[in-house]
Symmetry: C2
Subunit: 196 residues, 2 copies
């Protein structure tokens, strides 16, 4: 994204946002984030969505990913988020709790952007266009390597809803095949988007 | 089970119970029920559990399976069960709601037997020995034919907890691979029994 930000959604330039993000994550994750931005912008154009908002949401989606558990727990308590969150882990926190950290530290208040961050790990029954863009971009960005990633990419750029369905189904299949913990709300996403 | 019932758990003989069950289900399901009883008695002996209670729970576990949706909905309302049940279907109802029908029609009041019926379709985080026996017997009885049924049988008769874990994992994998609806609480069973 070479255009300037309007400053309606983030009070600064894209370079300033990049700078803040780069300082908050490892270099490997920063490269992933740039890949998600590229995919999100492409998906935004395909779906007639605001490119600037897609860029911002992508750049911040993993902003809090490397915070320690204690910080997430403190935010859950101080912001009076659902106390059940305390039973979970970084995988869940960096989206739902991360949105609060992004709001406070980056001064991003836009509800659509924050919701897209909140929903980017497990999706949701109700997903707006930006939610889907970030959820899918995170899965298909160029740095991702997993079986069937090419199928996921093809779907992403042809039908965003089908890509959401593919992603939640295959994520659950992967988690269960490896005996990984499943966040119960992920099943609500699956039942909504996959089951006919 | 050739022994007589003590009448502590069901007010009648095994033949009388068989008669009531036979009248409540199709012949195909009746044969399945007899298979579950045989497996449940074997599992009860393996796990030092009361054989009579295992026999009764097995014989009644699908007692309500062929009732129509309207009857289940009426029971949910009249017994003030969780109203969310109204959003579900026979697969869920015949266990949780079926236990109420069994209590009323068969005069079975034993909490362990009724709980085993309630939990036999999706298991639970907390499962007592009889819950596990019925859950697993339903999966491995001689009439069952599915890939890996022999692995499930071997596990069932060597380690009941491992069999519970195998069953919930493979049931979820099957459901998701076929785009089937997943009852959210089934994930609680999975997270408890499969995830280390």
């Amino acid at each position: 994204m070479n255009e300037e930000y309007s400053q309606k959604y983030f009070p600064g330039t894209r370079d300033e946002l990049l700078n803040k993000v780069r300082k908050s994550v490892s270099d490997k994750r920063y490269q992933h984030i740039l890949g998600v931005e590229k995919a999100a912008i492409k998906l935004a154009k395909n779906n007639n969505y605001n490119v600037e908002k897609a860029s911002i949401a992508a750049l911040v989606h993993d902003y809090a990913k490397e915070r320690n558990d204690e910080e997430f727990k403190q935010v859950v308590i101080s912001k009076q988020l659902d106390p059940d969150l305390l039973n979970w882990n970084n995988f869940i926190w960096h989206g739902v709790v991360g949105a609060e950290i992004i709001k406070d530290e980056l001064n991003i208040k836009d509800g659509e952007i924050l919701d897209a961050v909140r929903k980017h790990t497990i999706g949701a029954e109700k997903m707006m266009v930006l939610d889907k863009i970030i959820y899918v971009a995170d899965y298909v960005e160029d740095g991702r390597v997993f079986p069937d990633v090419n199928i996921a990419r093809t779907l992403a750029y042809s039908n965003l809803n089908d890509a959401v369905a593919f992603e939640i189904k295959h994520t659950l299949e992967y988690l269960i095949s490896t005996n990984g913990v499943v966040y119960p709300a992920a099943i609500l996403t699956y039942n909504k988007w996959v089951v006919k």
